[in-house]
């Protein structure tokens, strides 16, 4: 086996684009549908999936959906419209805010945050964060970081009801988006394309019956590093290709590594590859650029998240086998 290096993530992008677009066409035909709905967030993953969908079935058969809400970044909608224009596809913009307000999403979330920060209220912003796996052996428990209207920041650990309450409330966002995607898919007789990459799919970085709900997941076998390279190969706009990943779920800016992953995506990709290919922490450390004991902690965190992902990706369990033919599992390059 060749020595472990960043080159393990190299990919013949043209061949892979051809393979994915072929699989998308096959998938749409298998379900006897007429096209593909893609939720466009302005992030790298949905942009690449949109481009792949257009390449697979043609722009006349792809429908883009913009679904911003109150806490979305100010970049989300302009970037989404820019992509829609780039693809030349039909689209709709659905503002989720009134729906989320009616469901009590924001109120329920704020009530949960007040368990940790009693003064939290109107005019405050927040996000939830995890401790670093690299810097500490601490178990990973969420804290809420809140900014009051005066710009002061307060951080407090979430107890179980607060943590579950914040997550349950914010999950309304992804579930409402899935509901709208399927509304448009049903009226157009289209399928819904999901946008998780390998990192998100493998590590359970999605909401069950939310962004985890899709008919096709065309990039779930690609490391995030490969998705960025594919974006360039697909000719996506520069501002998309260079945009760092965010969650775009909380009112304070939040990177994916402070919310979920242990490391920035490029290092996380290498750790997942290394974990799955028998690369020891000592061998991986110089390539990833962190100490071997930190790699060991990342490996444990990967395993821990995989245990959670089993539930997120599991079909309903019956007493008898309800699954029918085994679900097709994504093949990794």
């Amino acid at each position: 086996m060749p020595a472990f290096s960043e080159a393990v993530l190299d990919l013949d992008l043209d061949a892979e684009i051809s393979r994915i677009t072929g699989a998308l066409r096959t998938g749409v035909r298998r379900f006897k549908k007429r096209g593909i709905v893609v939720g466009i967030s302005g992030g790298i993953d949905s942009s690449v999936v949109g481009a792949l969908a257009v390449a697979a079935v043609g722009k006349a058969n792809v429908f883009g959906l913009l679904m911003p809400e109150r806490d979305s970044s100010s970049e989300t909608t302009p970037l989404g419209h820019s992509l829609i224009g780039h693809f030349g596809i039909d689209h709709a913009e659905e503002d989720l805010t009134p729906t989320l307000e009616a469901l009590g999403c924001y109120r329920r979330r704020d009530d949960a945050i007040r368990r940790a920060i009693p003064d939290y209220g109107e005019g405050w912003k927040s996000k939830i964060v995890l401790p670093s796996v690299v810097d500490t052996a601490q178990l990973r428990f969420f804290s809420v970081v809140a900014e009051n209207p005066a710009g002061e920041t307060i951080k407090a650990r979430l107890d179980l009801p607060a943590y579950l309450g914040v997550v349950a409330a914010t999950n309304f966002k992804q579930r409402c988006r899935a509901m709208l995607e399927y509304y448009h898919a049903d009226r157009l007789n289209y399928v819904v394309a999901g946008t998780p990459n390998l990192l998100e799919y493998d590590q359970g970085f999605f909401v069950k019956n939310g962004d985890g709900a899709a008919d096709l997941k065309p990039i779930a076998h690609l490391y995030k590093t490969q998705v960025y390279r594919m974006a360039v190969a697909l000719g996506l706009p520069e501002d998309i290709c260079s945009r760092p990943p965010t969650t775009d779920t909380y009112s304070l800016p939040q990177s994916q590594e402070e919310f979920y992953f242990s490391l920035p995506y490029d290092k996380m990709d290498l750790c997942i590859y290394a974990r799955d290919h028998g690369v020891t922490a000592a061998e991986a450390a110089p390539v990833v650029g962190i100490p071997a004991d930190a790699v060991e902690r990342v490996y444990k965190d990967i395993d821990s998240k995989r245990r959670v992902a089993v539930y997120l990706d599991s079909p309903p369990l019956g007493v008898a086998d309800l699954t029918g033919p085994p679900a097709a599992k994504a093949k990794r390059p």
Binding site: P131, Q138, L139, R140, F141, D159, L160, Y163, L164, S304
Partner: protein, 86 residues
Amino acid sequence: METVEKELKTYVVETFLFGQGGDELQRDDSLLEQGIVDSTGVLEIVAFLEEKWGISVEDEELVPENFDSLASLTAFVKKKQPTEAS
């Protein structure tokens, strides 16, 4: 078995195993690696310790050495409550 450990085992078996399989659970078994609890489950255990023994768990104490087995949990409770939890 000491009282603290017995109470912890009863709690873990009743809460996470629905009362089943307590005979097989050994004091040094890793609750995390055996899949008995995940990080959410550890939060539940933290709440139990705080309620049962009045312990306040600091961020830096949230490490596997304190929470990964009945033995480590027992040692942690006794360290935090040396007189009450004997």
